[in-house]
Amino acid sequence: MRLLLISLLVALSTNAQADDSLYRAWGEKPGIRAVMDDFVARLPLHERIGRRFKMTDANHLASQLTEQLCELAGGPCKYEGPDMASAHEGMELTKADFNALVEVLQAAMQARGIAFGDQNRMLAKLAPMHREMLGR
């Protein structure tokens, strides 16, 4: 019984520490930045959504995204840019546009050698954002 209690406490305390396994799997901040640079470079070339990114400041976008994904992955970052709802205000993104973003990201992750399981762990954190991003 005491052993059970101790293991429970240990489990709780390890859970309370931020899980940064995804952050490390992505190669920490330089690894995330490399994928984001690749992602942002691919965006203007996409058939469906490319035109939306013709005027984008690639360096700024890649920095913002790196901070955001770093924080989502459990890394030591704090995203301080605009929230997803206001960042996409007036864009009227559709679900098909959102899926196109996912496809471009998948291509970038693949190109940068992120393992498929780690790709999906990150996508699982990003996918729910469609609720704030779409139709605004």
Partner: protein
């Protein structure tokens, strides 16, 4: 049947002209599932809550498929098509042809082909199987499959003394959830049915006309964006178990398969599977019908 198929194709072309939004490729690879043997989008043996094709909200999309399965003693061929709109509605059509080869020769029915036509409709009620990765809520759909069996020279026996019905409409409720953080997809379908061998031997029997709620379970692991591997179990009723041919003569078993689905792009997918269709007419052919299954699907 060919007329219906033509009408469907004509409708499809019309939809293209009217909306200009066909050939939707607004969905992610393989998130329209593959074509089940009944025509509805799903796994191989079971319809899922996903709507077929790559049509996103506001888009039309279509699929067409051919499937062949070969077991130790029997063969099955299926061809069909589906039309989906808005990730909300799906209409499907399929024709199955089951080759009994010489297994029924003792009844004077050597070479008998059992055929079935299936019209399907599916309506997504709630949820998003793919993007709601932070919620437990699955995508849920309600579907209907209207089936008509054409049993050739076996019809007088099947629809006479055996007491099966010639046609029937099944209802099913499907729940599909992609556990994206684990690259795992699960589906549970509950089907209200009285189909014998999926309808190839009609519906119900003289001794048993009751509807039964049968569970069907699929689990698939995504290995790469283009590749999924999985297993399926499909429970079936056993209405002809007791019949004038003797108890157990037409007993049937649940179905199983283990599949590999590969989509090199959004136009094309291949599904290969090992299937176990259990016993089929065990009085004449007692062996379990294990074999191979291959399906090719085109999306547009």
């Amino acid at each position: 049947m060919h007329k219906t198929l033509n009408a469907l194709m004509a409708g499809l072309s019309l939809a293209t002209l009217c909306t200009g939004a066909l050939a939707g490729n607004g969905k992610l690879l393989l998130t329209g599932g593959v074509s089940s043997i009944d025509g509805a989008a799903g796994g191989g043996l079971t319809p899922w809550a996903l709507t077929g094709s790559y049509a996103a909200p506001g888009e039309w999309g279509g699929t067409a498929f051919v499937t062949a399965a070969k077991t130790r003693d029997y063969g099955l061929r299926v061809a069909g098509a589906a039309l989906a709109w808005d990730e909300r509605l799906e209409f499907s059509i399929a024709r199955q042809r089951f080759d009994t080869r010489q297994n029924l020769a003792p009844l004077g029915l050597g070479g008998l082909q059992l055929e079935q036509d299936i019209l399907g409709a599916k309506w997504r009620l709630a949820g998003d199987a793919v993007l709601d990765a932070d919620r437990w809520m699955p995508q849920i759909a309600l579907g209907a499959l209207h089936r008509r069996a054409r049993s050739g020279a076996f019809a007088p026996t099947l629809f006479g003394p055996l007491g099966a019905r010639r046609s029937d409409t099944e209802l099913y409720l499907a729940a599909t959830k992609l556990w994206l953080q684990h690259s795992l997809l699960t589906n549970l379908t509950l089907r209200a049915t009285r189909a014998n061998q999926n309808g190839l031997l009609g519906f119900g029997g003289a001794q048993d006309r009751r509807w039964r709620l049968q569970p069907e379970l699929s689990v698939a692991l995504l290995l790469a964006p283009q590749l999924a591997v999985g297993v399926e179990v499909r429970a079936k009723p056993n209405a002809l178990n007791r019949s004038v041919l003797g108890t157990g003569a037409l007993a049937e078993d649940d179905w199983f398969d283990a599949f590999l689905a590969f989509a090199p792009n959004k136009q094309l997918s291949f599904t290969a599977a090992a299937v176990d269709l259990g016993r089929i007419a065990p009085a004449l052919q007692p062996r379990r019908q294990r074999g191979a299954y291959l399906s090719v699907q085109l999306s547009f």
